[in-house]
Amino acid sequence: MEKEIHLDEMTRRRLLNWFLGTSVGAFLISVLYPVSRYLIPPRVEESSSRGVTLSLKPADIKPNSGQIFRFGSQPGIIIRTPAGELRAFSAVCTHLACIVQYRPDLGHIWCACHNGHFDLNGKNIAGPPPRPLEQYTVNTRGEQIFVGKA
């Protein structure tokens, strides 16, 4: 009878030890895995951001003018056409990745590096740029401007 009670205690203790060992292991994994991910993070090629709220107000952008803004780590350009419409594009020239600008005297987007010209739809119209600028969507709500990837 005494022997049976002893065996029963042994089985219970083994079970408790197993639970304890497993939970210690799980705890270690839960601590070390985030640490390893912190030390060796996955490669991120570019900002996964799909949109940005600008610090500019719609009224800050006068007709026939443009402003550069930050889209992740890349420059974007928001312009207001002479007709009053807001449009946004990537400000990275498709030729050699210079930052483009708006030229009020020309009435369109221009790259100073090699005299590349883009119309108000971002289409390359003169100079060496081989492709149009990437166009973004522009939404305004009150005093806020939200620019997003199409």
Partner: protein, 420 residues
């Protein structure tokens, strides 16, 4: 007998009507006969013509060859009916020009199409040799546009589509035997296919990249003159051409009888520019004329040093910011600012065409300032990263020590429980 004669007459009339109707449906008696020749020299034009834009617009064989397409017999090809057979040499230009040089006529089909091709052609080397020397080997309209499968240049199957122009010109110009009497090089096509222009056109699909006709002209094809080759390159590379044209090099090159852009960049095999083309080191094109002892050589070396300093600073900063970004540090603003240094580097590389140290310095200085500021931010981000890592190591060590202590305590309790 009479009924047989009438029957025969009706049969003959029916046969005649059938032949005529068939000829009309298939594009005239020309097609009705020539289609039976299969793929040989007489049958091939009929097969090819079905894909020709002129066929699609309703033109038939007689529009160019003359004759009578309603006549089912050999008399369709009677010179008295305007039949000219296969046009040759100047006759080809005349036949095409009859419509293509007529603005009123062309307006019905394509109002925006130019009508000066014939005029231009006679200013080309091809046209001049044809007119002045009756050279039958030179290219005429059909040599480049194909005779019976003419398609608009925008059609990828067209022989004058941007991707196929080089091959079309090379059909003669890369043929050493054919070009032998003219004593001009025949390596233009093989050189062009090594150029950055061809790579952009063929590999990147950039149809705005130049092919033969963009520099030589198409109908007025001729080699660019030494004094105006820069204007040709300047059609696309306007900034560089403007800087070059205002530099003293522009005048000196003309005096020396050497072309502008091509002297340093080559012509058909123009390659992607590299910084080591500048200066006096290995691969430097300036070293072809200049040395350390002359002012030009010193200017080239100074410009190279400026470009190198900005490129070095830019690359060093980009690398450190990439490392910081990869480690999860917020360096978006610094990366954003670094775009200005990249822009300055590209502008400085263009500014070398002014051949002035000050012009290059003007672009390099702000770029260096931006790159150095961004570099300092990158260094701070990496220092912050090291600080966080040290903090993490301490926290992990404490956690592990606590775990070890708990385990030891449990074992101690167990040992006490087992002891009698």
């Amino acid at each position: 007998m009479a009924s047989a004669t009438v029957g025969g007459l009706i049969l003959l009339l029916l046969m005649g009507w059938t032949l005529q109707a068939g000829a009309q449906e298939a594009g005239g008696s020309c097609v009705a006969c020539h289609k039976n020749f299969g793929e040989d020299r007489l049958g091939k034009p009929v097969q090819e013509f079905s894909s020709d834009i002129h066929f699609a617009r309703g033109f038939g064989c007689i529009s160019c060859h003359g004759g009578d397409a309603q006549d089912p017999g050999m008399t369709a090809m009677d010179p008295a009916k305007g039949y000219i057979g296969k046009p040759k040499g100047e006759q080809i230009v005349r036949v095409c020009g009859r419509c293509h040089a007529d603005a009123r006529f062309m307006r019905q089909y394509n109002p925006s199409l130019r009508v000066d091709q014939v005029t231009e052609y006679y200013t080309s080397v091809h046209g001049q040799r044809l007119k002045e020397r009756a050279d039958s080997k030179v290219a005429t309209c059909a040599s480049c546009h194909a005779a019976h499968s003419i398609r608009p240049p925008s059609d990828p199957r067209s022989t004058v589509h941007p991707l196929r122009v080089a091959e079309t010109c090379g059909g003669c110009h890369a043929n050493a035997d054919y070009m032998a009497p003219y004593k001009i090089p025949t390596d233009q096509l093989s050189k062009y296919r090594k150029s950055v222009h061809w790579r952009l056109l063929s590999a990147k699909g950039d149809l705005s990249a130049p092919t033969c006709n963009d520099c030589h002209g198409n109908h007025g094809a001729a080699p660019p003159g030494i004094s105006w080759v820069g204007n040709v390159c300047g059609q696309c590379h306007a900034q560089n051409a403007d800087l070059f044209n205002t530099s003293f090099h522009a005048k000196v090159f003309v005096q020396l009888g050497i072309p502008g852009c091509a002297t340093c960049h080559g012509n058909h095999d123009v390659s992607e520019t590299r910084d080591d083309m500048l200066g006096l080191g290995d691969g430097a094109v300036c070293a072809g004329c200049h040395s350390n002892d002359d002012k030009g050589g010193q200017t080239a070396a100074a410009m190279r040093q400026l470009i190198d300093s900005l490129r070095g600073e830019y690359e060093k900063t980009a690398e450190i910011l990439r490392r910081a970004e990869h480690a999860g540090m917020p360096v978006n603003q610094a990366l954003f600012d670094l775009n200005e240094a990249k822009t300055a580097l590209v502008k400085a590389r263009a500014a070398i065409h002014a051949f002035s140290v000050d012009a290059v310095k003007k672009e390099v200085a702000p770029g260096l300032a931006v790159a150095q500021k961004a570099y300092a931010r990158g260094i701070r981000a990496l220092e912050e990263l090291q600080f966080r890592r040290r903090g993490l190591a301490v926290s992990v060590a404490i956690i592990l020590a606590v775990i070890a202590g708990i385990v030891l305590k449990i074992r101690q309790i167990e040992r006490r429980g087992r002891s009698p």
